[in-house]
Assembly symmetry: C2
Homo-oligomer: 389 residues x 2
């Protein structure tokens, strides 16, 4: 099979046109993300994560695939919306706004800022706009300033069980590469060192090879709902961020370690009964808090495909290839909606869509196109090197 | 079938012993609620909702079934824990604490206070303890003081889309009857009038007969995820609270209206494909935000059985009876765990348990025993009146 062509065609025939056609709010700026199976808008609220992610995606295509004027214009819709309506007075990004841009939910979630910074970084690369570069840089440093208390006044934890979260070092490891062009070189190196160390030496557990979502401040596990939580998709996504960093510095040990971790996570997270990767698991096998724990989510499976194809490209490990084929078969048979475009986001444990939306509060124009792009490029190289029989 | 005996036996052979045996923390006070299928403790955190609910339940059994010393002692475990560890300096109740009672999650959730007030009220009735009576009363008035901004500093909404919530008038309608003995008579009447009006004339929609979870401050619907949300279990629970109020004041119109609403909610909320009542629905049929929307929850089905048996007792409406039998058959065949005691809490859409816990962060000793008690008593009267063939 010509995998690279499969991914490329899916990206440009099935997915990007869906967002180009359905998501653009040419009246108030930004994007609609609440799109039903056929692409009809069912809600007009704007979620800042998804505004940033889509602006990033179209800037990225412009920078990495083709300098299409349309793509840059689409990116600009989101960039302008983020600048005009995304931030409060202190420069923190809201979680959501109305269609018109009136803030609805306060900046309690620092990932709004992370995706805005990513978007500004790619867009500045496309246009060379100095102001947007500064915005990317300032947003990045504002994230660092807030990292010790990212939720601010909205933090409901008393502090009696302080836990550190995997999300932030994980996202920083990707964000810092995204912003390399606008950040001082020593800042990039420092943050890479910090995040690789946190991800691979602190959150990755020696005994079971799994990545925990929350740890005690001293790096030991915490026996609580949060402390026992495993989010396989998160771990898999982080592993391809690690491989990107390892390739940049030609760190073969890091590639090997990341690839081994991919296998450990898949062994633990795979549903032996129905196939697919669970959304959440308790490391001790206890009932997770999350009622959606057994669902099969689009992004988890895409991150797995990216991680596996990238790991295979760099290791040629046949065990990685076995898993790639297994996840490919599960994923490509169930998630893509060939008739209406894009992918279903949410399958039940049995593998059937139980929400047929193409976008909503958390799903937008991001994981599907980014994953397809990544797989396309990984397979281009794999096929060039004739690694597949 | 002798329904009253069925419910009574289930309550006293299958459910109460499960909590008596597994949930008591005789070392640090309060109750364990995180119990697996067999009753083994898998987490020791204490959730204040569930501490209040269990203390209420055992006080209620003592007051309404038999003055068993053991039941009062069990209730005291929770009451003491709430007094010693439940509140912050301003008298607001935390959301959760460690096993030992160190606060973990701040008082962002006013339902902690509601269930604590209910527990104090029933326990004061059992013991005549003046201090606990005062605590019940003060907690109640503190809830009223906080009602305009129940989440305090933890409120993430900007205020640009102010919505009023059904939960508070609904719970007040029950709480005020619980606390009747300790509150001034005019306060009771005022709050009953307020909550009946809010529930039946504001949140209950004239056009479709359904209850909305959130409305604009002027009582009109709001076209947003929150504004379109239907929670059938919530509506059904509120309807039996309304019937209790109607019986107290011999208000036949209210009984009739509540019974009609039960039918409307069930018609809308019933899963025509697999049976059972959905957890969440969007009134326009759009995808709900909640990934757990299609799951079948224990409390929803218990509240339906209570509402239907109570409505049948007071209306003899054959349509109510038809629905009772349908919900009874679905529920009693799937939720009770005859081998290990108590009920499963969480079934997938197809009706199979996907979490086999008996208790966790949200499920404790409350809906199952309260529902069984209510059905037992409703059927005792139905059978005395020979309403069943």
């Amino acid at each position: 099979m010509n995998y690279s062509l499969l991914y490329k065609e899916s990206l440009f025939y099935n997915v990007i046109p869906f967002w180009e056609k359905n998501s653009l709010d040419t009246k108030f700026g930004g994007y609609f993300s609440c799109l039903d199976q056929k692409g009809e808008i069912y809600d007009t609220d704007k979620f800042i994560w998804l505004q940033g992610r889509q602006a990033w995606m179209f800037s990225y295509l412009y920078n990495n695939v083709e300098q299409k004027k349309d793509w840059l214009e689409i990116a600009k819709l989101g960039i302008d919306f983020l600048i005009d309506h995304g931030r409060d007075d202190t420069g923190n990004f809201y979680f959501s706004t109305t269609r018109e841009g009136k803030p609805l939910v306060q900046p309690y979630n620092i990932f709004s800022d992370c995706f805005a910074a990513m978007a500004f970084g790619q867009y500045a690369k496309a246009t060379g706009d100095k102001e947007i570069q500064d915005l990317a840089k300032n947003t990045y440093f504002n994230i660092l300033d807030r990292r010790e208390n990212p939720k601010g006044q909205y933090e409901k934890s008393t502090g009696n069980r302080p836990l550190k979260s995997f999300s932030l070092p994980m996202i920083l490891s990707n964000l810092v590469l995204e912003l390399e062009a606008v950040l001082p070189a020593e800042e990039v190196e420092k943050t890479i060192d910090f995040s690789v160390n946190e991800v691979m030496k602190v959150f990755l557990q020696k005994d079971n090879g799994l990545i925990y979502e929350f740890l005690n401040p001293d790096g030991t596990p915490n026996d609580s709902f949060e402390g026992r939580l495993i989010n396989p998709g998160h771990g898999l996504e982080a592993m391809w961020f690690m491989i990107d960093i390892a390739v940049r510095s030609n760190d073969k040990d890091l590639i090997k370690k990341a690839s081994e971790t991919i296998l450990k996570i898949l062994n633990f997270g795979w549903d032996k009964k129905y196939g697919g990767i669970f959304y959440f698991l308790d490391v001790k096998g206890y009932p997770p808090q999350q009622l959606e724990w057994d669902q099969k989510l689009w992004w988890v499976h895409l991150e797995a495909l990216v991680a596996l194809s990238k790991a295979y490209l760099h290791t040629k490990n046949p065990k990685i290839w076995e898993w790639y084929e297994k996840v490919h078969q599960y994923t490509l048979n169930r998630f893509p909606d060939k008739e209406n475009g894009e992918w279903f986001g949410y399958l039940n444990r049995q593998g059937e869509p139980y929400l047929t939306l193409k976008g909503g509060k958390w799903k937008g124009c991001f994981h599907v196109p980014r994953g397809l792009y990544q797989c396309w490029k990984n397979f281009e190289k794999i096929e060039q090197e004739n690694l597949l029989k």
